[in-house]
Symmetry: C2
Subunit: 148 residues, 2 copies
Amino acid sequence: MLKNDYLGQDCSVARALEVVGERWTLLIVRELLRRPRRFLELKRLTGVAPNILTTRLERMAEMGIVESSAVSDKRDWVEYRLTPKGRDLFPVVNALMAWGDRYAAPSGPPVVVGHKCGHPAGHRLVCQCCGEELRTEDLHIMKGPIPR
Amino acid sequence: MLKNDYLGQDCSVARALEVVGERWTLLIVRELLRRPRRFLELKRLTGVAPNILTTRLERMAEMGIVESSAVSDKRDWVEYRLTPKGRDLFPVVNALMAWGDRYAAPSGPPVVVGHKCGHPAGHRLVCQCCGEELRTEDLHIMKGPIPR
């Protein structure tokens, strides 16, 4: 566990990474964002070793990110899906995809996310207040916590 | 290394995680997004053990995420800063912060990012084409690569 003092790690980034800061976790989330999957599908799609996949899915269930349900009486026909808390990781996966598309995809983006408007959704992050695109040079840190 | 076939891992998320899929890396990026830092400051602010921090910074320099320069003749007065490639990780850190604020900050967000417009920037992700806020249910996968 990380230390829990302010200058150290009373930080939502650190706390989020406590839950998802492991490569396989976000690759599993990536697959489940598309649709629910069975164990063997997840194994094939992510390339994760079965023992690691089992451990990860258990941990993700404990953290409330995935849930599973039997889709048949056959023993291993269990389907895994994201909870709302898990689906809310979409912006993290989307931001990683944007960065990877830019810096680690020499042949162009392997996959593009389309929006219902009929065009690629892209990765546009804007100020919730004025709507302007966020650039790091326009941002500053305001210490919290702020009242909800 | 991950396998490099399509269904497996010819995926920008996987490739991004090859570079930043390690908790300390993104915590170091988080600190350097604020401003350049010296080694001992980074150690204090992230809580990373010195040997791990050294290895991480070397790796991040190799990957073109950080660069360093001497700010004094004294041996350890070297300052680390993000390159443009490193600063482009801001949306990843921002998305992790949003998720952590929502699900792992019982006392409210420890830190708020302010925009130059004078208000909190928030974490609003919109379609680059129609400007509507992105919701996972409105998205679909279009396979790439698409021409640049």
